[in-house]
């Protein structure tokens, strides 16, 4: 059975795959808009942050720091640290995207977030030879971006009409969790990946108190190192990592 891939089919598939994450982002976008303006940021700057920075957790932290009258350089440095994990995403995607011209790399690079990364890395790593995978990526990133702008606007306009507690009552914060579970679990096919996930999870708990999402970065690095070391061990012991997969699934 051969599949025909077109730009449109890839674009729509990317958008469809991202729907649960877009839904999950809605309350955060609205709340960001609300929190930013009530913290003293002008509506123009608030939408500007969503449009030109496009990074949820960094935006929340920045608006909080701004409200606390922290100086710009410090907020910018914090933003840099909070978004450092995006470099990991870029490095991970780069091999699949290196053939793309700048007019693709620039917008796709600009719009890279946790959610888009989670969705598109799966597509890029699928073994089919579709020449339009970047359209899948675009289909994921564009709706995510537009939704974020829209929700920020709603948040700005609506003021205080929705608070964090009400958003949690709708369970929308759990949408991202369950989507990521659906993505990660099928990846756990070998012992190294299992170890990687365990290490990342443990460290995420241990270092949760670190400021600026550093705990996340530490946990991610721990997971990467654990997986790499475990895989290297397996290879050194002349074992095929895929043999472990069969053991795990039996």
């Amino acid at each position: 059975m051969t599949e025909t891939y077109t730009r449109k089919s890839e674009f729509l598939a990317g958008a469809q795959a991202t729907i649960p994450l877009i839904v999950g982002a809605i309350p955060f976008g609205i709340i960001f808009g609300t929190v930013a303006v009530t913290g003293g940021l002008s509506p123009a700057a608030t939408i500007g942050m969503s449009a030109f920075v496009f990074a949820g957790s960094a935006q929340f932290i920045a608006s909080g720091l701004y409200a606390a009258a922290v100086a710009n350089p410090l907020i910018i440095l914090t933003t840099f640290i909070v978004n450092l994990r995006h470099a990991l995403y870029s490095a991970s995607l780069a091999p699949y995207m290196k053939h793309l011209p700048q007019r693709w790399l620039l917008p796709l690079g600009f719009s890279l977030t946790d959610e888009t990364y989670a969705v598109v890395i799966q597509r890029y790593t699928q073994p089919d030879s579709s020449p339009y995978k970047h359209w899948f990526h675009f289909g994921s990133a564009l709706p995510m971006y537009l939704n974020w702008q829209l929700c920020t606007l709603i948040g700005i306009i609506a003021g205080q009409s929705i608070n964090e507690e009400q958003a949690r009552n709708l369970g929308l914060d759990f949408a991202m969790v369950v989507t990521f579970i659906g993505i990660v679990v099928p990846l756990i096919r070998t012992h190294p990946v299992l170890l990687s996930v365990t290490a990342a999870g443990l460290c995420a708990l241990i270092f949760n108190g670190l400021p600026n999402q550093m705990g996340l970065m530490v946990a991610a690095l721990a997971g990467i190192v654990a997986g790499y070391v475990a895989e290297t061990q397996l290879v050194l012991n002349h074992q095929d990592a895929n043999i472990v997969e069969e053991t795990l699934e039996s």
Partner: protein
């Protein structure tokens, strides 16, 4: 003006984190160990993001039955393991989460 500078600065550092790595890593031949390590980025990072919201309530580990996040996550893991189907994982995980939360009236 102060706001405009703030956004400009944030934009530069954010784009500076996302784009150069994407553009350059693709054009340089990465050593094989790096390529092997990069394969662990998706599972490690996504796990790191979702574990705290599921297991922590107010900074404390909440391995209790009234933690709807935990129950929903366990169901989602089970469904994902058996079916490898993202849609079912989301539907059943969200469904159990919402119902559980109503039943326990809690988290």
């Amino acid at each position: 003006m102060k706001e405009a500078l703030l956004i400009l600065g944030m934009m530069i550092v954010t784009f500076g984190v996302r784009y150069p790595v994407l553009a350059l890593v693709g054009r340089i031949e990465l050593p094989e160990p790096v390529i092997r390590a990069l394969r662990y980025v998706p599972p490690a990072v996504l796990t790191a993001i979702i574990v705290p919201p599921v297991l922590l309530r107010d900074g404390q580990i909440a391995l209790t039955l009234d933690n709807a996040y935990l129950i929903g996550a366990l169901v989602a893991i089970g469904v994902a393991w058996r079916t490898r189907n993202l849609l079912w994982t989301i539907l059943l995980g969200m469904g159990v989460f919402l119902v559980w939360r109503v039943l326990t009236g809690g988290l």
